[in-house]
């Protein structure tokens, strides 16, 4: 998946988990500075990313999933590891 595709996929997941999340997001700004996202939304978002891509996101990388660029980056790393192992 190209970086753009990955980012689009993350946005899609986000909007499914958090209905009403804005379509236009600043990539490097935390979601929580851009719209209302509570702890449960956040958990569901991370779990949905895992489910859709068939991967496990290590707990220590959860905080980085708090922005669009961060989540796409984590996903790229996790997918790369999954493909090489």
């Amino acid at each position: 998946m190209s970086p753009d595709d990955l980012s689009a996929s993350v946005q899609k997941t986000l909007r499914r988990v958090v209905p009403g999340a804005p379509a236009e997001l600043e990539a490097d700004v935390p979601f929580r500075d851009q719209f209302d996202m509570d702890s449960l939304d956040y958990l569901n978002f991370v779990l949905a990313l895992e489910k859709e891509h068939g991967v496990t996101i290590p707990e220590v990388r959860y905080p980085r999933c708090a922005s669009l660029a961060g989540a796409a980056g984590v996903l790229r790393e996790v997918l790369a590891t999954a493909n090489t192992s």
Binding site: R32, D36, D38, S39, Y42, L47, E59
Partner: protein, 557 residues
């Protein structure tokens, strides 16, 4: 420091101990800040704030005192008089603490609204509170206040915090029309304003809480409440001068005010505050790096932590952590055991409500922990389980189910429901405040919580307290969260339906669902065991963690 202690045997004694030989003004902020500054502890850290990104920022009692004075003098400049209302709509930021204590110092009434509320509930609460001044952030203003501004005629001034934590620093850019930067506004203020010496019965705090039906209730507290905040913070949570303390509650909830700001500051503790929402990595980092000694959190947070923490992953040692407390919903034995296992100290339950203003029933820091019990009434509180007996009420027999009631007369007892004197009157039976919570009081005064009145229902003729069923479901190794409600059924009238959230490692299969049903039946018997189990990603809860049972029948999003 001996002079900081407030423990005595009566509310009057505590009141006097707090005011001290200097006869401080009878004002919440005098007890939370002035007491320590005058007592020579002004340099002690009062607040350590971890912004969403970047290292923690520390504010001493003297730093807060100055900023709070600037805020109070600003209110006077605006013509906002004692008794008028100041509202805050913000997350966990230092400016919220400054606004709360500043409004109180000036004798104004302060109300803090949940920043995760949408525009409708925000506008409704602002209108009902008749707030003259609002402190919020540019984003929250734009999304939640600006659309309704025209319908808020009382609201004369809006202060925006664009760089949280910088207090009186000037703003970078222009503010939207009808607003002003809080930093520049504070900079105009006087850093040395005394506390208004108000009557102890002067209104100080307004908390909105959801009722069972209709409009949110506005629960009103007076300045004397700080006596109870300080006493319970010391007696239950074990806080004292310099204790490193973290309360995870949102300040839009009464816990975030009584025990996130007022109680701990009155005891001279150092309050840690994390701007970010719950995150498992930050959770462990905060406990470890900040050397947290006392943690006050919720069963919901423990459940999230459990759900997001893979089994076997490394946990930091927490040698400094002394006590962990929860509030908001009953602590299930399984959650309590899990918490103890990962944090190394017992998890202690507390019970209180917005209306009580402070902890009433608890397992205190130095008390025996009994699984399945909240704890006992904290002296000098008098608590009873009462049952209706004709026109009157009588105490429940030992182990009989009754309504948890508290004898009136404690300092943080609510003094009114905003604009609803009838509802206030109905909340009392003679000398007793009726909590609406159903409980059993066992020998020795141990209180076992059963249900919020109204959550209980009958299934096939048997009274069902959902919490009892939920506690058993939570004992199933694959279940991390559970909620139970009645569902209409042709044959039984109502059957018990369970909604469960599975542990990270568990797989949602028909086999597992059957296993959960069988497990519950083996523990509860056919009359109390759920007939249906739905697996869900999360359960509908209020921001304070209570299950919204009327939403249970709707599927997860």
């Amino acid at each position: 420091m001996a002079r900081e202690r407030v423990l005595t045997d009566s509310w009057d004694g505590m009141r006097e101990a707090l005011r001290g030989p200097d006869r401080l003004p009878r004002n919440i902020t005098a007890m939370a800040l002035t007491r320590h500054v005058r007592g020579g502890a002004g340099d002690r850290p009062a607040l350590r704030w971890r912004p969403r990104s970047g290292p923690p920022v520390e504010y001493s009692y003297l730093d807060l005192d100055h900023a709070v004075s600037r805020f109070a003098s600003g209110l006077a400049r605006e013509g906002i008089r004692p008794g008028e209302t100041v509202a805050v709509l913000a997350g966990r930021i230092p400016e919220l603490v400054v606004a709360v204590l500043g409004a109180l110092r000036a004798g104004a009434v302060v109300t803090v609204l949940f920043s995760s509320f949408g525009p409708d509930p925000v506008a409704r609460r602002l209108a009902r509170s008749r707030a003259r001044l609002l402190v919020t952030t540019p984003r929250l203003y734009r999304e939640k206040v600006a659309p309704a501004r025209a319908e808020l005629p009382f609201l004369a001034r809006v202060l925006l915090v664009d760089h949280p934590g910088r207090l009186e620093a000037a703003a970078d850019g222009a503010c939207p029309e009808g607003t002003q930067a809080m930093g520049s506004w504070l900079a105009l203020g006087d850093p040395g304003v005394p506390d208004e010496d108000v009557d102890p019965e002067h209104l100080g705090l307004l908390h909105f809480t959801s009722g069972t039906t209709g409009e949110p209730k506005g629960v009103v507290h007076v300045h004397d409440a700080v006596v109870a905040h300080a006493y319970t913070a010391e007696r239950v949570l074990g806080l004292g001068g310099g204790t490193r303390y973290w309360c995870t509650a949102d300040p839009g909830w009464v816990t975030g005010i009584s025990y996130g700001i007022l109680g701990p500051l009155a005891t001279g503790s150092t309050v840690f505050m994390d701007e970010d929402e719950f995150d498992p990595t930050r959770w462990w980092e905060n406990l470890e790096r900040e050397g947290i000694q006392v943690l006050y959190t919720s069963p919901t947070a423990l459940r999230l932590l459990r759900r997001m923490t893979s089994t076997g992953s490394a946990r930091p040692d927490l040698p400094l952590l002394q006590s962990v407390f929860t509030v908001g919903e009953p602590l299930a034995p399984a959650e309590s055991r899990w918490g103890r296992e990962v944090m190394g100290v017992p998890v202690r339950d507390t019970w209180w409500q917005t209306e009580t203003g402070c902890i009433v029933v608890a397992t205190p820091f130095d008390g025996e922990v009994r699984e399945g019990f909240i704890g006992r009434a904290l002296p000098p509180f008098e608590v009873a389980c009462l049952v209706a007996d004709g026109e009157k009420t009588r105490p429940a027999r030992p182990d009989e189910v009754g309504e948890l009631c508290v004898r009136r007369g404690w300092p943080s007892m609510f003094r009114a429901y905003l604009d609803d004197p009838d509802l206030y009157r109905r909340s009392f039976a003679g000398d007793w405040y009726r909590s609406g919570d159903v409980a059993e009081m066992h020998a020795g005064g141990w209180v076992h919580f059963l249900a919020r009145h109204g959550d209980a229902f009958k299934s096939a003729g048997h009274m069902v307290a959902p919490v009892e069923v939920e506690a058993v479901l939570l004992d199933h190794p694959a279940v991390v969260d559970a909620a139970v409600a009645g569902r209409s059924d042709e044959l039984a009238g109502t059957v018990i339906e369970a909604h469960v959230v599975l542990a990270a490692e568990a797989e949602d299969t028909d086999g597992l669902v059957r296993d959960i049903l069988a497990f519950a039946r083996s523990r509860l018997g056919p009359a109390l065991a759920p007939r249906v189990v739905h697996v869900r990603t999360h359960l509908p809860r209020t921001p304070s963690g209570k299950i919204v049972r009327q939403h249970l029948s709707r599927p997860s999003p």
